[in-house]
Amino acid sequence: MTIQIKPLTMRMFKKEVDIFPYWVGFLLIGLVFGAIGAYDILANGLVGTGLTNQVPWGLWITIDLSAIAMGGSAFVFGTIVYLIRATRFAIVGKLAILLGFLGYSTAGMVLLFDLGQPLRFWYPVVYWQPHSLLWEITMCVVLYLSVLIAEVLPIVLEHEIFHSHPWLTKYPILGKSVNLLHAISHILHKWAPGLAIVGLTLSLLHQASLGATYSVLSGRGLWFNQSAPVQFVLSAMGGGTSLLFFLSVIVFKIMRPGLVKDDVLYDVARIAGGINLLCIYMRIWDWAVTNYYSFDVEVSLQTQMLNLISPYSISFWVGQVFFAAIPGGLLLAAKKVKNFRILALVALLPAFCAVLLRWSYNFSGLIAMITYDPFTPEVIINSYKPTWQEYSVGTLVISYWLLAFSFAARFLPFVGKNEQHH
């Protein structure tokens, strides 16, 4: 059996047109626009951003955290496939690993621009400060990205080009290199359960630490929160798995019909729904606790000021509760809904919700800043407006993510030769 990949088409001028070349062209424009901003930032520094000493983390940090969250399905399905050994998810698990790799490489890329000294990005690996959460996150991300590369390599090598391309015999060096990669892939495949354990450990550590990065800072009022690490882990699992379901419908249901059974896709939806509901349960408790702490003058002032200048509370109730709870329920009941179009569309909402959580978390403590005034505690409202360079670099990394995913969706078989025979 050979995998037939059906291209995504659109009806234009009374005929079905393959949208892939147009989509790639559109993303290439994004890359070019991104490259202009990236050059400006690397040449002139962060003075080109809208960041200030009061709001030193902005759009890029949100993209960074979100990209990592969107790769959250990788460790969930790494565990399901390789540790729990639910092999029916093996093919969907490959897509999850790909999303993990794309998420973490995107995060690494955007972080490079966000550093004042980009060429020193490797310093935390060498100059250790184990008390710092950011050090721990850097180490975990570097190690986990290595694990993801090890896991994604065999998936890429499944492509026909690495097995029967005429150049492999014509150019011996190429053939030998590919053989080496196959040998490494063979070893890595044997190590898969071990890699899954390492991946799970590292993921839980740094996903939680991303929340703790904010929540250990007692001077920032709203941020100082014990449940943030758990919320970050659960929202990455929920948002990431929801995104995986949405993309699985495109990659498997539409482009590779028959490769993955509908029941498996329904189960992915149910897993996503369950985690999202659990995450909302935690979020509601967090809301209750924050309100309890609003007896604290400073936290109360922060919440009031944020509500004055932004839809802070509405974004919580609509963006983080409604957008996750309703889709969560629908996804959990996927086998009853039995409509992939509806399920796929609602699955986008929890992914958006995970991004919103990170956006809201990052800015709440920075925009509404508690002052140092010893007699009349106040909250100062800081402002931040991203510049074109920030949007440009954001476009660059998002275009990279979409482009790499589009090529993978279009060309990778997501099934090995042996699996095809089975």
């Binding site: 002139n44 520094g45 962060l46 003075v47 000493n53 009061q54 030193p56 983390w57 966000d114 550093l115 004042g116 000294q117 980009p118 020193r120 990005f121 310093y123 935390p124 690996v125 060498v126 100059y127 250790w128 400060q129 008390h131 710092s132 959460l133 950011l134 050090w135 850097t138 690495f162 097995h163 029967s164 492999l168 015999t169 053939g175 590919v178 053989n179 080496l180 196959h182 040998a183 490494i184 063979h186 070893i187 990065t213 250990v216 800072l217 007692s218 001077g219 920032r220 920075l366 800043m369 508690i370 002052t371 140092y372 005034d373 010893p374 007699f375 009349t376 030769k417």
Partner: protein
């Protein structure tokens, strides 16, 4: 042809494995060698430098800010020490001059991923600009809004030169975090020459020397006769900013008299 992994022999596998292991060993050794560049961290030294600011004497002239800019080679739009107008509970306005608090339990030190911000044995919270990666986590962590990022290349001297002093340190590279160091270069050089920081001007932070009303005192907190200890002991109501955070700042404030009187009226 390429589908047979056996073509890549066991010997080749061992070679690749050996190379990876070797690279890992070298990296680990390098990291062990390079980490703890500031190993003195945590060891308490002979001195413990601190500052006291008498809010009642501060007239908001900003001379402290200007002198700091001149001596520390800062651009006009960058200040380590800032003066703001604040109010007491009964609405009385006063000036709050705010340098780095040099906290004993500094949040900025704990969060730095590479130990570029560290505490010297004499209590000064300082920076290793060669290590800083510019992540700005210290700036986010600081509850006093006194950490500063170097957004652009140095464009020559501030307009405060030469009226308020001349640059005594090199400008820092673009993209690193900066901070008030209690003019550590003056303290270190002064001690070598047998001078007493806080007493001898050339061994004392520029902001203290420039203050026209004597609102600032500096010196060794371990020495009861140092100017800083004398000023702190002169008032029973000395405060530190955001003490509830337990950061243990080494900058003390003598509060506005009206707040002290109110305090005394209440019998506190």
């Amino acid at each position: 042809m390429t589908d047979n992994p056996a073509e890549f022999s066991r010997r080749d596998t061992l070679k690749v494995g050996g190379a990876i292991l070797g690279a890992l060993t070298v990296t680990s050794l390098a990291s062990v060698g390079m980490q703890n560049a500031h190993a003195s961290h945590g060891v308490e030294g002979e001195h413990k430098w601190g500052m006291a600011i008498d809010i009642n004497k501060c007239i908001g002239c900003n001379y402290c800010t200007y002198a700091c800019q001149a001596v520390n080679n800062l651009a006009d739009d960058m200040a380590y020490s800032v003066v703001t107008t604040e109010t007491t509970k009964n609405g009385e306005e006063y000036f709050l001059s705010r340098p780095c608090m040099h906290c004993d339990d500094a949040p900025c030190v704990k969060v730095c991923p590479v130990e570029a911000t560290y505490i010297r044995p004499d209590g000064i919270v300082t920076m290793d600009y060669d290590l800083c990666i510019g992540c700005r986590y210290c700036e986010v962590a600081c509850p006093y809004d006194v950490r500063r990022f170097n957004w652009k290349e140095s464009a020559g001297n501030t307009t405060c030169v030469p009226d308020f002093g001349i640059p005594e340190v090199d400008p820092r590279p673009r993209g690193v975090m900066e901070k008030c160091t209690f003019c550590e270069h003056r303290i270190d050089a002064g001690l070598e020459r047998g001078l007493v920081p806080g007493v001898d001007e050339s061994a004392t932070p520029a902001c203290v020397v420039a203050c026209p009303t004597g609102a600032r005192a500096f010196g060794d907190l371990k020495d009861p006769n140092s100017p800083v200890s004398i000023m702190i002991n002169s008032s029973p109501n000395v405060i530190r900013l955001r003490e509830e955070l337990s950061t243990l700042p080494k900058v003390y404030y003598l509060p506005p008299k009206s707040t002290v009187e109110k305090h005394e009226e209440l019998g506190l």
